[in-house]
Symmetry: D2
């Protein structure tokens, strides 16, 4: 049984003025604790982690550890460009009680990130990380391609517990499924692929949509487990407009606006992310009403 | 009920020396007639249509019309760069008894192919075509993006009967499903998406894999109709290596080599497509054995 | 001394209603005969060659042969997707009196167009073409990369007389210059690189801007030959807005509109290219006034 | 007269074991002080800045300030993903005596980095930075396009002193030249464009090649100022293989290897950049001999 299965919410980071608000972050987590979410990702893209200092990052992670129900799995995004800094930050997060580290490819020197370099990077980290590593495949953002053969190789490292697949397709999953060791976690990063991907064999998902509609996502997961296909299909299609808005069209500002409407604390993003415009706000309200969240 | 549903094989074109062989083409079709394939696509990518003269194209289409069982649907690829030439060739194919025309975007002047230009192109053709049009969305090859909004608009034209979706993702399907008129045909171009895509609501597929493993593809389609999900899932995964080889790794030469091994006539491709090398041949043999076709 | 040096205009194709107008085409050529252009390219992108039948193509080429001053070099675009059809059309153009054939990469099966396939393609054609071949490198349109090593190899084939470089950079030129045989023609496809490129060692250019401002382009070429650098620099910069409009922003419809304003016959493009809108017309008028052409 | 003109070397960062070596860094700078380089860039890509902690970065900058001849201009790379962190780090570098800050686009949320977001980012920083800003345009790495219109707008901000253009083309330069205010610095990031770009009107370059062959680069600059075009042309072409090796083929490890050969301290890169392999070492030696540096 994969250690990481079910639905994970990649938490947003609450800002008040120039500072992060651990209090609001804790409030949000307490609300999420009441859901059936499997766990939380802290310091992911939705958490605007690239805008945070290491100190702010640590504060958030400690708050999560303190506030999250003990049954919730905690995963921290720990990627840095250098192998050494990634490893150090990963073990710092291990020290804060995280259950796993989510690590994407280095991408600054993209043309040099061939399999040999990526192997040196990920194996160095996996060998010395005090917590399991989840390798994050998101070529659209990194501009770096990890081959299926290389991913299969990584999957057999004893300290690599899973993948997060944000390729947007099912190709890697379909090619990798026969090659994965038992108990390996395969988490989808695309909310639109939850139904088909989990049915094919993925173990769950880490999707921003779960920040806003956690119950819908959990129900979708459960319907698939119960083999209620036509209900699952319908629920999957219902989530498409929300997913498109928070990922493709508007991004994190739309997710935070939705949270504000739903009683969580969303608040502003940090610059250079701009606030959601009026058109976006209206569209988000329509989408939430359609889902009967508003 | 969609007019075009089930599995279509995009037929390869038999060459002997410098010429096409209508005889071998007819022989292949007679073999396919014994399968439960819904129909055939003539003059598609797998048919190396871009290497054929108009005269050769017409000869193939006439052979198909003469040889195919009357219950098989016949679709011809008729795209040209100019609107007028596409229309003329489409109606020439209509005159040869084709049931529909499969038409991808013009792509030579890609930076000018905005929605306004594409609208002028497709509406001019759909308005005057004597047979239904199936719009072919393959951005990877054309470099042209058709927006979901524009596709939804096209779907409501009375002479546009369907889409072929070779985006490689499920995004367009998921976004379009709620917007499609009743009876609209949505055909998948990616064999790896047959199971998840048809389950979500697609009406079938046009996949090169069906040239080589028609019975497997038809069985997969039937299993989905019968809601035998776990069998369908297994069969879907079994087809992945074959699909990867004939689409991504080796292309049409690999498909033709497989046909030669299986008693069909595959034969050589036209230059600049090169013959399959020894490594590719060995891999294809292994794949066919794994599928118990050899 | 390179056989093809100086400025070539890639001629537009005059349409009247549904048909090409050889008469207008001849009229335009007679006007260009009065300039110091080195020659003309017929059936290039600016000539909307992808919208023409073989019959129309041949009619245009014969008109050009009949009408062009004997001192003007004539180059025909002859690329097709198949090696054989390219060769046949090339030799048909040779039979019409063309001095060279301009041939870009096949691109439909782009992922299969590796150096081995391109070598088979270009060598087959160069070996048997009755006229010299100019290899056209335009990766932006074809999606196919020709390596510098492969281009250097082609340059040493006795029947490959030159390159047209539409990469938009000077990298290939700078890398290739030391490797080119004496007398090899290196023609730039980017009007913005005429000054720096010819100064570095290119032999000339094939640029749409030369259709509209032939005297400016010829003067720029002459100023470089005369080493009048600061005048050349100024003239080069003056041509940038015209080039941007006819290549990047508006394309062939803008070039044809400019021709109409200047006493040539521009006329409409074929669909799916749309007519220039009012904003574009106004911008073109401003650009032509700035160049004192209007 | 532009404040930043001539040739700048983007310094590499010396590592010994796990740590940076300020001593070796100072030694290198003392060697460079003997050249006619205009100045140095610290914390650029060649300096592996993405692998450094803020503390290491500050140590390097302070060493540079202490060691560089007073006539050398000092520019620090200060980009971060967030506007606020970029501003804070920029002013920290100002406090260390830097003459300017070189700042590229944020790129993590690339699809959201439209002109409006980039405007908010750069204007916030330029308004409050204590030193002039040089805006760094490198779309190949960032995946973010800055339009010519937006760059022209930025050029008129009183605290934006220049651009570094690493687009690899001359298009932006040619389009922007007429729109730039007097005294604006336009620095090329592509060593292959020094000759044509400076001749067209650029004020100089920041090129890794200048780390290895500073005298060649300075001489090239001087030849252009003296209008010795054919010598400049030859020198430009001579530098192409070195540039290709240290930028495209092998990257920073090749630059560092060359430094080691030439009496500077190059040393290892940090992981995930791998050491130069034997083939690369041999090629670098050949290139340096060809340039009579070895």
């Amino acid at each position: 049984m994969p250690e990481f299965q079910g639905i994970f919410a990649p938490l947003t980071t609450p800002f008040e003025g120039d500072r992060i608000s651990s209090e609001k972050f804790g409030d949000n987590i307490r609300k999420y604790n009441a859901t059936e979410l499997t766990g939380y990702v802290i310091l992911g893209s939705s958490g605007e982690s690239v805008f945070l200092t290491d100190g702010e990052s640590e504060e958030l992670v400690k708050t999560a550890k303190k506030t999250a129900s003990p049954d919730k799995k905690l995963i921290a995004g720990t990627a840095r460009e250098s192998t050494q800094l990634t490893l150090e930050f990963t073990n710092r997060m291990a020290g804060c009680g995280m259950d796993a580290a989510l690590i994407r490819c280095p991408s600054y020197f993209k043309s040099k990130m061939d399999t040999q370099a990526l192997r040196a990077h990920f194996l160095t980290i996996a060998d010395r990380s005090e917590i399991p590593v989840i390798v994050y495949n998101i070529p659209r953002n990194t501009g770096v391609t990890m081959t299926v053969e290389f991913l299969a190789e990584l999957a057999h490292h004893e300290n690599i517990a899973g993948f997060k697949d944000s390729t947007g397709t099912l190709s890697a999953l379909e090619e990798l499924l026969p090659a994965l060791p038992a108990g390996f976690s395969y988490l989808l990063g695309a909310a639109g692929l939850l139904f088909p991907g989990i049915q094919l064999g993925a173990s769950g998902g880490i999707v921003t949509v779960a920040d806003i509609a956690p119950e819908h996502c959990v129900k979708l997961y459960d319907l698939i487990q119960q083999e209620k296909w036509s209900e699952a299909r319908r629920l999957q299609l219902d989530l498409i407009p929300l997913n498109k808005a928070v990922i493709q069209t508007y991004g994190v500002p739309a997710a935070k606006y939705a949270l504000d409407l739903l009683g969580y604390y969303g608040g502003p993003c940090r610059l250079p992310l701009l606030p959601l415009d009026e058109k976006g706000k209206k569209e988000m309200e329509g989408i939430l009403k359609e889902l009967e969240l508003l």
